[in-house]
Subunit: 280 residues, 2 copies
Amino acid sequence: MIATIVGTGLIGGSLAISLKEKGVANWILGVDQLEANLQKAQELKIIDEGASLKDAMQRSKLIVLAIPVDALLQILPTILDNAGPEHVIMDVGSTKEKILQLVAGHPNRGRFVAAHPMAGTEYSGPEAAIKNLFTHKTMVLCDVKNSDEDALEVVENMVDKLQMRLVYMNGVEHDLHTAYVSHISHITSFALALTVLEKEKEQGRIFELASGGFESTVRLAKSSPDMWVPIFKHNRNNVLDVLDEHIHQLQQMRQLLDSEDYETFYKLIQKSNKIRKILK
Amino acid sequence: MIATIVGTGLIGGSLAISLKEKGVANWILGVDQLEANLQKAQELKIIDEGASLKDAMQRSKLIVLAIPVDALLQILPTILDNAGPEHVIMDVGSTKEKILQLVAGHPNRGRFVAAHPMAGTEYSGPEAAIKNLFTHKTMVLCDVKNSDEDALEVVENMVDKLQMRLVYMNGVEHDLHTAYVSHISHITSFALALTVLEKEKEQGRIFELASGGFESTVRLAKSSPDMWVPIFKHNRNNVLDVLDEHIHQLQQMRQLLDSEDYETFYKLIQKSNKIRKILK
């Protein structure tokens, strides 16, 4: 199968590597707004060939859209306009409700499979693409009842070959749960970096004192605003809701520390420790 | 040299392993309130022998106190009372000001070296002890002018053999900078876990959707309240100060999202990205 990756960055590039390695595709076309990305992706042997979107759609069966969710909103309707029964169009966006609403009534809606692999790193661009990024991670497929059976089968087969765990949700559920489990983590990490940069005027101290713990909580703050602002925009209501809860939890901890109620503070930490059981 | 580790948990146990491996000590005595910890530490060959504190002080030169900072406050004066010119007493506590104040006028103050290795994991107990925990990490030594030269030399030599980066500070600076770089990370992580546990009533979803990013920001929330409540208590003023800044940053992000000012939101994320340059 010939597959096209639109957006040859971290996710698109890593997927290209895996599709080839796991035998899902034997030739990968890359499409990217940035000529430099295409060149880099080819140099790194992530893609076999750069192409225009038009050319890529003529030549390939599977088209994966690995671009920021705002760009996805702009491009997806046109791609579906030009899709035929031979095409499978899949996205990998971090929000789903707006995208699914947008294409809900499209005559070629069935060729589209809405997907979100729960995997990534804080880096971006083709250089950030890595092998096995998706192995043993979760792939969420949304509103699959609106995808044609054969298109869904192509994607499910890929998920299987990539050794991913498959989860089905509707778009509304997806955006709610990812706000809780993924989007809020990024907000806290961005805010933590801003906090430390604001308070720690002696920046050399940050480098000296940063242990694994600090690096781990702050690493998502290296993530690209080009990717994340559109996500927060699309999922604004859910993010605001979980952010309110998070600010409330911090205020509660602040109040307990201020009033020196260490007993309740202890119990709160114990309660937070329950995350141990859930994560493994 | 015979060394004693008081508190054979994550830090004490890992240090015991390194002292032996790097040739700093050839025999390790373990002292622990919990008999089970001692047995486990011996079984895992982390220590050579369990001992009482009294016995251990008679037999060893270097005594490392790797216990929670509240327990340290209680035990350190007695240990100094019984220390002779042959002893070097070192702690590894995460706060310093209160401890240094406590022993400031002690006649044997010179035998004490206040140390804080910027290393750890979210786990605790002897089973959590690991090799090379300290390699290439920072060791902060505080108020060294109040330690006897020969005692300081023993510790500096250890730091060198452990291939650690050495940083000197006074206790007040130490507590300020660690509040910014280490303690606040733990607060944000505990609060994030509480947020997610509060919002995500379908706990299975957390496990399914948790990617590396979520795991990394929330992992410190597995940390023990026995260790952390005393730290927050000792460093209350600095922690409250940085926590206020953190809540302020989150409120600012919340306000920008609420008013849909995505341009300023974008700039804030870009600003937080500066952490990239500082961390490497």
